[in-house]
Each structure stands twice: as C-alpha cells, then as structure tokens.
C-alpha cells in the first residue's frame, strides 16, 4: 500500500520539517509559558497543531470521531499490534503514567491508532489495548482515514518490505500527542522524555479542567 523509496524520503523530509517547526515553535512559545504561568516539561505545541479530529473505528467496532473524546485529555499514539517491542514499551509506560495520576487518570484516554489496518481489526485492537490499560482505546479504519489523521499531525508511517515469511514491520513516528478536553493540541512527548515529565504535565492539564 505505501512503501517505495521516494515515499520514505518524503516521509523523512516531512519529519524534518516537523522537527524544524517544533524547534521554531518552542522558541516562540517561551512567551506563552509566561502568559499562562504554566511550566510545561514536555514540548508545548499549543496553537501549532490542529484540533483533534478523525473518522475511525474503535475497538468495539463503532464509528468514532474526534468529537467523541471531547471532555477527555487525549494521548494520541500511532503504532500497530505486530510491533513486539517499541509499541508495548510505550503503552506500558503510559500505563504507569496513568497509574501514577491516580483518580485523575479517569479524565484521560490513550488513543492507540493503528498504522497497520490490514492486520489490525477492532477485535485484535481490543485485546491488545486492554492488555495495557483500561483507559486505552484502539482505533483502526480505512488506510485513507488513517493517513488523513497521520498527515494532520505531520506524523509518518511506512510499511517495510515483506520478510520471507510474508510478515512485515511498519516504521512509524514515535511521538505522543497530548490534547486537552476541548480537543486543542497542547503537548508533544518524545520517547526520550521521562515519565516524571509526562506525569507532571498531565497532572497540570487534568487539574486545569475544561468547560464541559
């Protein structure tokens, strides 16, 4: 569906553009820190990414949109279930973060979006996300809808060539996007950032509340 070298190059270019944009954004946002008086530990992306929006299928087989998660702080992460190392590591870390947030975590949802819809059915996604955290939701859908969401947040994924056994890996952006209860993009976490920073910022965001 997606491979080829030019595609990978385009993804890389897009990725570097994203990094550049984030670096510029971080510089500009120094002012924002002073404005709202909040000391974010993750990368503040407020005003630099569009609101949470998508048309996908949840792990109960139900059609859902970004609007369905208004009122919750959303942690958006792209991955796939045939990923035995990094995706489980990230989801296990997010589970620890949720545990550390205590009752506040009920105001948050982990949205795990499949970049491998050919293999990730809602049933598989359901079993997978529930093995990590009760507040995790697995989202899959048509390749087009998934690509639309991925592009919306300047994320990228590439299906790698099939191995001899017919299986394949999917390379994907490792960032976690955090949205507030109004669906506004607020923070971006990379795998290098600590659980302490995640807990700090989510605690702050969840404590701020939102107009319901």
């Amino acid at each position: 569906m997606i491979p080829t070298d030019s595609r990978t190059k385009r993804c890389r270019t897009r990725h570097w553009l994203m990094l550049l944009m984030l670096a510029l954004g971080a510089g500009l946002l120094g002012g924002c820190h002073r404005d709202d008086g909040l000391d974010w530990h993750l990368n503040d992306i407020s005003g630099h990414m569009p609101d949470l929006d998508f048309h996908l299928v949840d792990d109960h087989g139900k059609s859902v949109t970004g609007q369905d998660y208004r009122g919750k702080v959303v942690l958006l992460y792209f991955g796939y279930t045939h990923c035995p190392d990094v995706c489980p590591l990230t989801l296990a870390q997010l589970h620890v973060v949720m545990q550390r947030l205590g009752p506040l975590a009920d105001g948050a949802r982990i949205l795990f979006v499949s970049v491998d819809p050919a293999r990730d059915t809602p049933d598989i996604m359901h079993a997978y996300v529930n093995a990590f955290d009760p507040r995790a939701v697995g989202l899959t859908g048509s390749p087009r809808d998934i690509e639309t969401l991925s592009k919306r947040y300047r994320s990228a994924f590439t299906r790698e060539p099939d191995r001899a056994d017919g299986q394949y890996e999917v390379s994907h952006s490792s960032a976690i996007y955090v949205f507030d209860g109004n669906g506004k993009a607020r923070l971006l976490a990379t795998p290098n950032q600590s659980q302490d920073d995640m807990v700090h910022d989510l605690h702050l965001l969840l404590s701020l509340g939102h107009p319901s």
Binding site: P88, L91, A92, A131, S171
Partner: protein
Amino acid sequence: MNFRLVRALPLFLAGMASLTAHATEAAHVQARDAWIRVLPGDLPAGGYVVLENISDQPINVRAVQSARYGSAMLHESSNAGGVSRMSMVDSLAIPAHAKVALSPGGYHLMLMSPTAPVKVGDKIKVSFTFDDGSTLDADFTAQPANAAGAGG
C-alpha cells in the same frame, strides 16, 4: 606411564572438557533477568535478557530458537529522527568480560507463532547459539503485556 604421556594428559583432558562444553552448554556466557512480554493471541512477543560473557574472548550470538515458538529472531529497535524502526540483527557481539542487555527499545528477541498459548508465569526455554558453536539455554519468565521489566 612415561613422561611424554603424563605431560600430554592434562592437555588431552582440557581438550575433552572444551569439546564437551562446545557440544552442550556454553560455560563462558551467563543469562539473567530473562523475560517475555506476552501479547494477546498469537501476536509476536518481545524477549529480553542480560547476557554476560565471563571469558577472556569476545563471543557473538549467531542464532536463537525456542521449541515454544515457530520462529525466533534477534532484532534491534531504533528511533533515529523520531521514527521507530525495527531491523534484524545477524550477529550480536559480547566483548570479553562484558554484559549486553537485550532490553525494551533496543536489542530484543522477536518470538513469533507460539506453538501453544503462552500464559503469564510460564517458563519458556530459549536457546542461544554462539559463533564458536556452543549453546546456552535460558529460562524466560512470561510477564504481562504492561510489565515494566523482568520483575513484572
């Protein structure tokens, strides 16, 4: 027993000992904190372990296998440029008197097609083959999907 034979005997015994070691267990590598992250159904699972080379010679892991999985491979995850990738590793070097950790987000075993469902708490034998022909069997403990490490 003449002098020549007495002198040769220890060499002969040493040779036998090393042959025995090569045919069975590698005495020069130790495994600890071995665990598997169990995922639902027959999804591929990650295997993690710390391998310590206690000998004076470098050694390379060349192959892994387990009767419990149809296929086992040595893989490495990377995160260059913010993109998570996984690649196969043909050979993993363990320098003399050094440890190499197979840990989440780095080197790991990719364990595919379980021959029978793997349940949390199961002990799974995984066999490592080194470039000198020796092998090492290690018991991996099956941990839940959201485990943080060997301790669960």
